[in-house]
Amino acid sequence: MLAIKTEHLTKIFKGREKETRALEDLNLQVSPNQIYGFLGPNGAGKTTTINVLLGLTAPTTGTAWILEKQIGDIEIKQKIGFLPQSPYFYESFSPVELLNFYGKIFKIPRKERCKKIEELLDMVGLTDSRKIPLRKFSRGMLQRIGIAQTLINDPDLVFFDEPIAGLDPVGRKEVMDTILNIKKQGRTVFFCSHVLHDVEMLCDSIGILHKGQLIVSGKLKDLLKPKESLEEYFLKSIEKKGG
């Protein structure tokens, strides 16, 4: 079983004067129970890929499957979690209110929901800030409550879009530890990032997207030569494609 599979996925954004090909014939396969790093320079199409997979935007051509179900099937969403890039939540909500809101969306029974909320707040270290409105949260705290909301439904597959961008070293370490913890729980993590050093530490497999095309995909240990860093490999791959 594959966690994610795309077939000839293409997304074209049509502007008034020109069209932008954000994704070009993307064929991607992600195995379950691993952390998959989806890399690429700015504008490569990473976020567009996630948006198409989550049904936030429709593909122009091609299709995709998540956990063996074709995108568009609302049932898939019961089994996935998503942390968008720079997550925004209702600012007047407290962490408890936010998690309760999303828990209700998943129709989790009240008793189970309350227990789950306590567990998640503990996991992301926000138990003491449980009643503080989110507008008073730092970026790192928002990222942590964002991670907590992705797990409210016990998902099999979690999408993180730039989860460590803009965080200080302590915040980054906390988020990375949480992501590793999520993998230990047997979930699949699909993870977009620019921070290659952190990706190298976290990911089992990677895919490199360049100008909407997948130019590399595979297990990190198979792709990197001894003593070669991911950054060197990434730059080499992009240059080879004329980037």
């Binding site: 936030l56 935007t57 968008p84 939540f89 809101f101 969306i105 998943f106 999408f159």
Partner: protein, 255 residues
């Protein structure tokens, strides 16, 4: 249904902490209370004047609140990108729209209820009698608010919150004048003008149906049959507006 109600609750919780809402409600109540001071210059007419000012004040405040909450509900979700997280969960687009609509309606009706209770209390203090008959025009104010929320939600599916608010205010004004269109059409010689006029007449909500404030303030009996007829008209009009909103929103991208 559960998901729609959860989204409605979220929308309500998001708006209810807005200060502007309280400013409008308090300002309206102060205006009603202030009208009691006019008794000195309008001897014998003070109760009628109070009723006039009270009902008109509540109607204007209800219009402002309905348009404000209806126009901002969806654009704020899109602009702040909270919609991305929500739509990534098992939420269908029609559930999102209906939830936002119900949340906005709840806020509008709650505000009207607070103003109405304040109005009835102030009136009771002044007249030493409970004027429960005043609830009849207020029921129609509630349904006018529902129509305005639906119209605002429709505009907000393809416009920013500011543009939606302006368009909804234009519809409010035009909706109160639209009953005059058939008379104007009769005088128009051009067939195209006649057709355009009648088209506008049928598209715009006839908000004058909801306006029974003047007869009520003057003690004229407003029959329940009329009230129920207008309620039915309001519900059907709001349902059509929501249906159009759903069609527009169905193919919307949130990338």
């Amino acid at each position: 249904m559960n998901i729609i109600l959860t989204i409605a609750q979220g929308a309500y919780q998001k708006v209810i902490k807005s200060k502007i809402l309280y400013v409008i409600v308090v300002f309206c109540l102060l205006a009603i209370a202030y009208s009691t001071l006019y008794s000195a210059v309008t001897a014998g007419e003070e109760t009628k004047l109070m009723k006039d000012i009270g009902l008109a004040g509540i109607a204007v405040a209800a219009m402002l609140i309905s348009i404000m909450v209806g126009s901002t509900a969806i654009p704020t979700e899109i602009e702040s990108r909270t919609i991305q997280t929500l739509i990534s969960k098992p939420v269908r687009k029609h559930e999102f729209i209906l939830g936002q609509f119900l949340g906005a309606v709840y806020v509008a009706l709650l505000s009207i209820a607070i103003m109405a209770i304040g109005f009835i209390i102030i009136l009771a203090i002044k007249t030493h009698a409970l004027n429960l008959v005043m609830f009849r025009p207020l029921i129609l104010v509630c349904f006018e608010a529902i129509v305005l929320v639906a119209v605002s939600v429709l505009f907000s599916t393809f416009c920013s919150s500011m543009v939606s608010s302006i368009l909804a205010i234009v519809v409010y004004i035009a909706g109160h004048l639209s009953y005059q269109i058939p008379f104007l059409v009769e005088k128009a010689g051009n067939a195209v003008t006649k057709f355009a006029g009648l088209l506008l007449y049928y598209i715009l909500p006839n908000l004058q149906y909801f306006n029974v404030k003047a007869p009520a303030a003057h003690g004229i009996y407003v029959p329940w049959g009329l009230i129920f007829g207008v309620i039915l008209y309001g519900v059907i009009y709001a349902a059509i507006m929501l249906l159009v909103s759903l069609v527009i929103f169905k193919n919307k991208d949130f990338a």
